[in-house]
């Protein structure tokens, strides 16, 4: 068997703990980028495949959701006005973007079991796809919000463009969380069961059903522990009130987002070679 002069295309050797070679990993991921978009597309397609309304659910869902919560605050709060409804809708939609990423992300790796066992590919594609699915589901809700906003007759302003960096920061955070939770769920399957209650609690702890200004100062002291707090505050300021956000809030949100992303990627990449025997 002639071996001289021919370099092996692939060499598989025992790996040390820690990260795989990142350059190589990135190239392999980039070469498969169409998988991510294609996978997300089929996921979305199959989700509403059997329903009568089909893809229209992407619009019906957020409308029903905001209706239910508006009913709740009307009954509990006793009063309501249009600004409050706009705030609720805007924040609820953004919150559900993050919550949907968590739900999708937590199942992504375990659901891809058969693929993981039979194909060599960068496993991180699975939680990235899950985050992309949540993002695509989020986009129509922005349109819904703008329709609501126009009907209510809230003022428009150039400061609303600040919503774009806010969405980018949120997307970054959602991606980080998706990667982190997908890996966690491989080792502790309870995560997926526990998640709905966690999301619900997070929803109530965030300024969604109420506005930040309505909070007592003693409670506001704890806001630094909620990653979504600065983001939702900025989101409501820009989209509902058409005012620029506070820089401190944006930076705080960005710090959380980067933190989740870096920790998530590190944890995932150092663990993923173990997935094939764990899922």
């Amino acid at each position: 068997m002639e071996k001289l002069g021919v370099a092996p295309v692939e060499v598989y050797e025992p790996f040390r703990a820690g990260l795989p070679p990142l350059g190589r990993y990135w190239r392999s991921l980039w070469a498969r980028r169409s998988f991510i978009s294609e996978y997300s597309r089929s996921e979305l397609h199959s989700r509403h495949f059997d329903t009568v309304f089909g893809q229209v659910w992407l619009i019906i869902n957020p409308l029903l959701l905001s209706g239910v919560y508006f009913l709740l605050i009307v009954i509990i709060g006793g009063h309501s006005d249009k600004v409050r409804y706009a705030h609720l809708t805007a924040c609820l939609f953004l919150f559900y973007f993050v919550a949907n990423t968590l739900t999708g992300g937590s199942r992504s790796v375990v659901k891809g079991q058969k693929l993981i066992l039979n194909t060599a590919f960068p496993r991180i594609m699975l939680p990235i796809s899950a985050a992309l699915v949540a993002l695509i589901r989020f986009l129509p809700t922005v349109v819904v919000f703008f329709v609501i906003r126009t009907i209510i007759g809230l003022p428009l302003g150039w400061a609303m463009l600040w919503a774009i960096p806010v969405v980018l920061i949120t997307a970054m955070m959602a991606l980080g969380l998706s990667i982190l939770i997908s890996c966690l769920n491989v080792y502790f399957r309870d995560v997926a069961n526990f998640l709905p209650y966690f999301s619900r609690t997070w929803l109530y702890l965030s300024p969604i059903l109420y506005e930040v200004s309505a909070l007592k100062p003693e409670i506001r002291k704890f806001e630094v522990f909620n990653p979504l707090f600065p983001i939702l505050d900025s989101w409501s300021r820009t989209l509902v009130h058409a005012r620029p956000p506070q820089m401190a809030s944006l930076l705080q949100g960005l710090a959380w987002a980067l933190g989740f992303l870096i920790i998530g990627i590190y944890y995932f990449l150092s663990r993923e070679r173990d997935f094939a025997v764990r899922v």
Binding site: K3, Y12, T119, R278
Partner: protein, 266 residues
Amino acid sequence: MQSASSSQHKPGDLAVSVQHLGLTYTTTIDRRPTLKARLRTLGRGTKHTRIVRALDDVMLDVPYGSVLGVVGANGAGKSTLMRVISGILPPSQGRVEVYGKVSTLLALGVGFNPALSGRENVQLGGLAAGMSRKEIEAHFEEIADFAELGDAIEAPMRTYSSGMFARLGFSVAVTVRPDILIVDEALSTGDAKFKEKSLNKIKELRSDARALILVSHGLGTIRGVCNEVAWLHKGTLIQRGEPNEVVDAYEKFLKVGKSAAINEDV
């Protein structure tokens, strides 16, 4: 791209070289690893993982232009070996060198998402394996034709029978022409007609420019098609060599092993 690169390999060139390969992995004892079980036994020193020795010092060379058959009882490590060669499982000891593009289409990989149609599964599987959209498009007709699924290719794969699953898996594996082709148990399901068709396909693929690894329980097929056979048992390579010789030894072992296994179990 794959079909173009296969022409440069001369028969006799090394395709896959497995050197002192060992694979151990820790796996959970619990059926489902949960936080509750962890917490309940916290501090008691109960182990939640055990070490499984799946492969032990396996040496194997596969040259281009040959067909290697792999036989062994269930749990012998055949599929694990294939997964290491295709880069899915990293080895714990030793080294695997691969001189070409491997098709990682162990038949089971197709149909990973039962909610999606056969077409979508094939496309996604191909994309995940690193093929381009164009390559998949180019092969898709051939895959669908060979699998003979008809309109069912557009139906969700949860509606497929196990035979249809196997047929699609096999079609994907043989249609995408890689340098090194691994066919894992794909021949075992499917009706007699398809079995014959797939056997003919394997024979057709036995060209000089390709290396084939065939994992099968169908010993007749192994005898008929392979140039060399490797017999694995509980992670170690027992014997390799002439197909008839190795398969005879394996068959003998199966008959003797049956009574020995019964004794062991008690």
